[in-house]
């Protein structure tokens, strides 16, 4: 690897202060630190040794945790395509169809978002942030397979500029970047991200009897009718048995259908200590709790849905594992994390049941709690200050 290092060293003076391409220093720095971890050493005073972690490694851990969801999503897109069009396809063909749909979305998200990052790094003179490694993967995973690519590009640009760089870059943002991208499309181009968009057809057409509805839509449809307690039966009829939803053999956004794959991701995040298990557990707990309460009220069929169904329908698991745990936008105090997660769970189910116009509650619940996370932290921090003050006067 010596010759690579030599090439980089040769270029370095061009980008350093006084060099020809001084403006683009951070672009150089990004590739240099990507190839080689830097040769900087500890200051004269202070710690002389450092932990082996850095932000790049932390972020790549999240990307690794998302891979099961991505791989499953690629296959599922092909599988749903086959099921909806009534074709009998081999596994390889299903995967190929999935790749054809998913890869361009991933590439577009990474390239457009990455370009915006680079432009900002040059203009604002800050290092290119590793945070986009994660955002660039999250955005495709929460898009429906039929999403037009130009919308992916637009959403990525919007999210990076408005949700992140406007606040000063990774670490400073208030809203989760990937969810901002999705929310942007949701409100700007609602027809392309809701309704009959969850299955990729390509040139084929749907078989007779294909409905295209999701479990959430089915549930939302029952909120106006009499309560019969037959929603679960209806789910089973429409191919939304608990097991199917758990495993993810259902139409939906590219990466979020399989609760099992999200759980594998959760295991990686919790095992590596990168994601907060407190937030994950409390989101599931909050959703279950709210589901139970609605069971007791029981005004319509959706309310009567057994609470554990809320865990597997829609994107709750994906949101709880990958979105709610974003350390920058979540609550940052340990106590705050419990409250933050629990409220996300409660709000998700609340939105699902009371607002059929926006069946996917988790996205809005997380964005909403992103805004309130600083308030939660503020109270936890104030309690710490009060303990100190109280001690002083005793």
């Amino acid at each position: 690897m010596k010759f690579l290092r030599e090439i980089l060293d040769k270029q370095k003076p061009l980008f350093e202060k006084g060099g020809k391409f001084e403006k683009f220093y951070y672009l150089y720095e990004a590739q240099d630190t990507f190839m080689f971890s830097p040769n900087t050493t500890a200051n004269d005073k202070g710690v002389q040794v450092r932990d082996a972690i850095d932000l790049k490694r932390m972020m790549i851990t999240v990307v690794v945790a998302m891979l099961p969801c991505l791989f499953f999503g690629i296959w599922n897109v092909g599988q749903q395509h086959a099921a909806a069009t009534g074709q009998d396809l081999e596994l390889m063909d299903q995967i190929l169809i999935g790749l054809k749909v998913v890869l361009p979305v991933v590439i577009v998200a990474y390239v457009t978002g990455g370009l915006v990052e680079a432009v900002f790094a040059v203009i604002r003179k800050h290092p290119i942030n590793e945070g986009y490694l994660v955002s660039g993967m999250l955005i495709p995973l929460v898009m429906p397979p039929t999403i037009p690519l130009w919308q992916v590009a637009l959403a990525s640009i919007f999210a990076v500029v408005i949700a992140k760089e406007a606040f000063g870059g990774t670490g400073m943002n208030v809203l989760n970047v990937a969810l901002t991208a999705r929310a942007f499309l949701y409100f700007a181009y609602p027809t392309d991200i809701s309704g009959d968009v969850w299955t990729y057809f390509g040139d084929s057409t749907a078989t007779d009897g294909f409905s295209g509805a999701t479990a959430l839509a089915l549930g939302a449809a029952t909120t106006t009718g009499e309560s019969t307690g037959e929603l679960v039966a209806q789910f089973n009829q429409s191919g939304f048995s608990f097991m199917d939803m758990m495993l993810g053999y259902i139409p939906g956004s590219i990466g979020e259908t399989s609760t099992i794959m999200c759980m594998i991701g959760a295991l990686i995040l919790v095992g590596t200590g990168v994601g907060s298990w407190k937030i994950m557990v409390s989101v599931f707990g909050g959703a279950y709790f709210m589901g139970l309460i609605f069971n007791l009220i029981g005004a319509n069929d959706f309310m009567l849905l057994p609470p554990h169904y809320h865990w597997v329908i829609g994107g709750l698991a994906f949101g709880a594992v990958f979105m709610a745990t974003d350390p920058v936008t979540a609550a940052q105090t340990e106590k705050g994390k419990w409250i933050y997660g629990f409220l996300i769970g409660i709000l998700t189910v609340l939105i699902r049941i009371f607002n059929p116009a926006y069946p996917e509650g988790i996205m809005l619940a997380i964005l909403f709690m992103n805004v309130f996370a600083p308030l939660i932290d503020y109270n936890v921090v104030s309690a710490n200050k009060k303990r100190r003050l109280k001690r002083a006067t005793v």
Binding site: F36, T41, V274
Partner: protein, 455 residues
Amino acid sequence: MSKTIKLTKGLDINMAGKAERKIGESAQPETFVIKPTDFLAITRPKLLVKEGDNVKAGTPLFYDKFSPDIMYVAPVSGEIAEIIRGEKRKILEIRVLADKEIENELYDAKSISDISNLSREDAQKVMLQSGVWPNIIQRPFGIVANPEDTPKSIFVSTFDTHPLAPEYNFIFHRQEQNFQAGIDILSKFTSGTVNVNIDNKGEVAPIFAHISNAEVNKISGKHPAGNVGVQIHHIDPVNKGEIVWTVNPFGVIQIGKLFLTGKYDASKIIAVVGSEVKNPQYFRTFIGASISKFIEDNLNGNHSRFISGNVLTGERISKDGYIGYFDHQVTVIPEGDYYEFLGWMKPTSKKLSIHRAVGLFSFLNGGGKEYVLDTNSRGEPRAFVETGVFESVTPMDILPTYLVKSIMAEDYDDMESLGLLEIIEEDLALCEFVDVSKHDIQSIVRKGLDLLRTS
């Protein structure tokens, strides 16, 4: 009331190059220095000697214009060889070329009963003049104590949990009497109690086993359990407007010795440790010793960093540099100024990490493995992202992230209410070690303390 405290948070950094329990044979260094910069609050040192003067061990070298009673004295007898100045003629070092036989300044020796009858005023006068006073450090701020204050309590931590730290029961072996006399003297200065905190892990060292005139508290846990700041936080926390003093056992012994023998004695045993030292062991020397004699022919590599103190809170010195006033160890580790191809994602179990992110397998090694750590910064500085890690290595009811951010924002109210007055930089040193975003937490903490102190 004596307390038993068990701390669960923290991190023991297990490094290669532990000192063997023996005192090495080595010629005494020729020069010794006193650095005014070792005493944090000194702004205007006024010299009392000039180059060429002859001094005894204990002869005042300088004092601070703002607290003229506290003398800073020569550790050994000899000739003032050189006074090193920096920018704006700031005094950096006062070098003393040592005599073969050390001659001491003498004061009245006292019996144990005399010591108990001594008044605070009389004791204080001798302590200020003789040069033992700078052992007394004040919380908040971690500066040399003001003789006019009466602290609400005094704390002595009798163990050091820093990486490769010297064993106190070895370096203070057989100093029971001096230690007890020092405690007796110190107890005159506080309205409350003297707290002697001992390690609850192993056997109690004989020197600290039978202490009277003080509360003995038992502390157990990983580093920073030995940090006196952490102990104060759990035993008798510093509130706004309150003052607590802390003294290292070395200081207690030095004070005791002064009264029992009438001598200012700057002799100490230091540990020379680290993976780059061939025979890590202890050496007998004096405060401010030049380290070159101890590391000559005793090094493994030739590209090393020499640190006065430990790897968490220490300061880099040169190969022929001098050990700091308050330090009992010199650590030598490899310099880390190398590039590493794809170093940020290469799997490794050799690099220590508290994290378990992909490829970091050091957690599989268990606690018994000794690590060779170098000075590489292992990544680039970034904005705060990860949360909850600082908290896991801070065994105090303090929120490090918020505290550090409040200092960065120079928010005086928040710094104070979030507990900055309770800590000094060493208490958050582990946060700096584990930080994903590579902030210089300790220098930020010091900046905050300076802001509060001078506001």
